[in-house]
């Protein structure tokens, strides 16, 4: 297997991977529910911090755990003793809370699947902005531009009564190879600010259906995939 020993950045700098790994992406979670929406930021908190959006409807935010994020430090920045070269950004979705009601005549799928209707609504209304060093946008595009490349390709048998059909959605391909790779990788230095804004220019995800459970919401987990320099013990 080929060993990468050097990476040349767009500005000509050459990085020599030393204590680098490609096996551990940096990831962060936000949660979205129906109704008025204010901008939520992935990577704005560190492990143990409050998950953005998790307080809506419940009053108190949920403390993050390792399933939500592996960002350490104070949040909204890469720790001083880490570096990151981002080759791809991927966003996956889960429905949490309850299964919800019949949505526009279509039965909701079982948890934690996301219905195709909700996935399309999220893709239609969400715009993502990756910011590094809080100065400039490094990319801006609607949600679907950053396919999950994770998920389930389910197989169902025939429903017993023939009328319980439902349709699940996924943010893009479920195939690992289906991620969108940046033609020009992005470098994040230790200590640099780092967030991904989830904007909803309309002020809501129109018609998002998450049932009547106050916990009902869509959980979006964002991966920054690439080479990561971890702390040296």
């Amino acid at each position: 297997m080929a060993q990468v020993t050097k990476v040349r950045l767009p500005d000509g700098r050459v990085l020599t991977p030393g204590d680098w790994t490609s096996a551990e992406p940096l990831y962060s979670t936000i949660e979205i529910t129906s109704g008025p929406y204010t901008t939520l930021q992935a990577f704005s908190y560190a492990l143990g911090g409050d998950v953005p959006g998790s307080n809506v409807g419940t009053g108190s935010p949920r403390k993050s755990n390792l399933a939500d994020t592996n960002l350490l430090g104070q949040g909204a920045q890469l720790p001083e003793n880490e570096e990151l070269i981002v080759y791809a950004m991927e966003v996956e979705a889960f429905t949490i809370g309850n299964t919800g009601a019949v949505d526009d005549g279509i039965n909701p799928p079982a948890l934690p699947h996301v219905s195709v209707l909700n996935m399309l609504r999220l893709q239609r209304d969400l715009v993502l902005v990756l910011k590094i060093a809080s100065v400039k946008e490094y990319t801006r595009a609607p949600l679907a531009w950053f396919p999950a490349s994770t998920g389930v390709a389910p197989t169902y048998s025939v429903a017993l009564n023939g009328q319980d059909g439902f349709v699940t959605g996924n943010n893009g391909s479920t195939d690992v190879g289906g991620k969108r790779v940046f033609a020009s990788p992005l470098y994040v230095d230790g200590g640099e600010a780092l967030v991904v804004d989830f904007l909803a220019p309309k002020g809501e995800i129109e018609d998002l259906s998450v049932g009547t459970d106050p916990q009902g919401r869509i959980r979006l987990r964002t991966f920054l995939d690439g080479y990561r320099k971890r702390p040296v013990a």
């Binding site: 399309l120 893709q123 239609r124 990319t139 169902y156 959605g169 391909s173 940046f182 020009s184 220019p201």
Partner: protein, 229 residues
């Protein structure tokens, strides 16, 4: 591996420095009435946020003002003086604005677009990329079907009907996958301040059978030279 040089068809070498993989996107809307899609002649990438989204006659509610979901262009119909773009691929995503009306036993609530309507668009729409002022020669011209849809929802249906005798229908332009976009073997370079837009038309006139109103968000995938502060 990092790309740090791109050779253009005319031999020019572009060294990537302040360049980022930063797609440009722009939305248009096609209306329908009574099971027939509007005759279409629209220009994507021809407006900025706050201007009207190009729409045909029968879009419900008429035209609307564009917001950040619709486009990230900062200059109408071209690139700003501090930008340039190397276009590698074109793709799109599609949303229905209305449910389907005349094709039972198939159901597709908005924003789901039926497979039949995607096929109708593929049959009748023509896409042209124009680069340069008063330019009559398109840099790209092809039927809509030639351009794959790489952004969208992968969906999986259970086998039960969603209503009595009603099946669910959703269509996408090929398999949803980041690789499913027609990549240009020879990238197209759009210079600073150069006029550039995309014409989407239906040369045949109205789009027979189109029973949903459609929002098409077009993407130019490529490298963009960003403003240097």
């Amino acid at each position: 591996m990092a790309i740090n040089k791109v050779q253009l068809p005319d031999g020019t070498e572009v060294v990537i420095d302040e360049w980022l993989h930063y797609p440009l996107f722009s939305t248009i809307q096609i209306g329908s009435l009574g099971g027939t899609g509007d005759s279409t002649n629209l220009r994507a990438f021809s407006y900025v946020q706050g201007m009207r989204v190009p729409s045909t006659t029968n879009v419900t509610g008429g035209t609307r003002l564009a917001d950040a979901r619709d486009t990230n262009m900062v200059k109408r119909g071209g690139l700003n003086y501090d930008e340039a773009f190397i276009l590698y691929a074109i793709t799109y995503e599609a949303f229905a604005l209305t449910p389907n009306t005349v094709t039972p036993p198939v159901a597709a609530p908005a924003p789901v677009l039926t497979a039949e309507n995607v096929k109708r668009l593929q049959r009748d729409l023509l896409v042209e990329l124009i680069v340069g002022a008063q330019q009559q020669k398109p840099q790209l011209r092809s039927p809509f079907s030639f351009i794959g849809q790489s952004a969208g929802t992968k969906s999986f249906a259970s086998t039960g009907a969603v209503g009595l005798g009603i099946a669910f229908s959703q269509g996408t332009g090929g398999s949803i996958d980041a690789r499913n976009q027609r990549r240009l073997e020879l990238p197209i370079y759009i210079e600073s301040q150069q006029v550039a837009f995309m014409k989407v038309s239906s040369p045949i006139g109205t789009i027979a059978g189109l029973d949903q109103q459609v929002r098409l968000r077009w993407y130019w995938d490529g490298l963009k030279r960003r403003p240097v502060a």
